[in-house]
Symmetry: C2
DNA sequence: ACAAAAGTGTTGTTACTACACCCATGG
DNA sequence: CCATGGGTGTAGTAACAACACTTTTGT
């Protein structure tokens, strides 16, 4: 069959975002193998036998962060002939959003390091990964404005201020507190839990939760 | 190299739209080879040696319609394990928009027929092509609202009524003539040519052109 | 009582919607 | 002079943006 004469590798790459300490961050791994030894890149690799690219992305996400059941969407496919110096590899890029708490990053023998990088201070990336990351940031920003994907960046219960902070960090602009809260509550995507944060030296904030932790299309912001 | 043991075929499929005689239409081909003999599908196929999926989509578009330099965007990649009964094939779907005038459809020996199908009266499609087409229609509708891609469906010079008709047909709803014209002219994407349509038994319409025949992001409608 | 973040309304401005008649041409 | 689509303005409504003070808690 013609297909089997093509000799094209099929890979999945995962752009994994989180918001932590006031910054939007992407998970990058440091490569061992030449010609990109020492360079940073998004985690990824050739898909395994009888595995879809989405399953590969889920596997990569699980390996690096331990999380699953977070928001994961197909971003775009990259297949320039020269994008991988080791041979022709088509890569389907996925974007994942993970909440910042309780994530222990794991490395493995293919990588010399793994860590979160602020998207404002990125190193030069291997392959075409700078382009992929740029596309991912744009997609994240626009999707934030007309969907509820932010649920995937937050713990199950959160305050409206935390929610607003995530919007402000990702969109990189200030939002008016009163207008933001009015809009969010009008949308009906969140509900109060009745609980309050305790133990801080100021008025305790009400805790909210998302009614649905799955993709919903609305004009959020 | 591991890649070469994967045995995954890489294909490109092209969802080709036009607007003609008051309907949004997709170009479909009728298949010869089993197990889909007689069934309709989007034109596509395995990519050739040293060809990107985008180049393959351009080639397919050229073969079927003779056109090039139209709007063509990557839609999504489909790689379910069972999507092709003849073996594992990953397909990158592209969406193209072609103007309706002067297009002569060409068939070839792989297909028994080619023709435009109104998206309101589609046959059952081969593979996962019904899903791909559904995604393409959604993408087209939303992109119509915040970009100028409609230029690719129109001849170089057109009237505002023709433009409005295309919006109405694709969005499948009526638009107010005065509001539509005000919005379009405010956006500044089109310019008058100074010419008028002649020879019709009613007041001649002014002809406009797009200032830029490439993707521009604005809230069009 | 102080520090710190939580929470809450109103007003002006802008964008959107709905709507009906006259105009220019060919036949 | 008739038929046909081309072309134009206004008023009411809804959404958005800008803005500052009071409340609740822990120390």
């Amino acid at each position: 069959m013609t297909a089997f004469n093509q000799r094209i590798g099929v890979a999945a790459d995962a752009v994994i975002f989180t918001v932590d300490h006031g910054e939007l961050k992407a998970l990058l791994i440091q490569m061992k193998k030449t010609p990109f030894s020492g360079r940073w890149a998004m985690p990824g690799g050739l898909i395994e036998n009888k595995e879809t690219t989405r399953q590969a992305a889920e596997r990569i996400l699980k390996i690096q962060t331990g999380v699953k059941d977070v928001y994961l969407e197909q971003l775009q496919t990259f297949d320039d002939l020269k994008r991988d110096p080791n041979g022709r590899v088509l890569s389907v890029a996925y974007m994942a959003l993970v909440p910042s708490g309780n994530i222990k990053l794991k490395t493995n023998d293919r990588y010399s390091d793994v860590r979160w990088w602020s998207i404002k201070k990125l190193p030069t990336l291997a392959y075409d990964h700078s382009e992929i990351l740029k596309i991912a940031i744009n997609r994240l920003r626009s999707k934030l404005e007309y969907t509820n994907i932010v649920w995937s960046l937050l713990p199950p219960e959160f305050t409206l201020t935390q929610l607003q902070n995530i919007y402000e960090i990702i969109l990189d602009r200030d939002l008016d507190k009163r207008n933001f809260r009015r809009k969010i509550l009008e949308l009906g995507l969140v509900a109060t839990t009745g609980k309050k944060i305790k133990g801080e030296a100021y008025r305790p904030a009400e805790l909210y939760r998302f009614k649905q932790r799955r993709l919903t299309y609305v004009e959020v912001i």
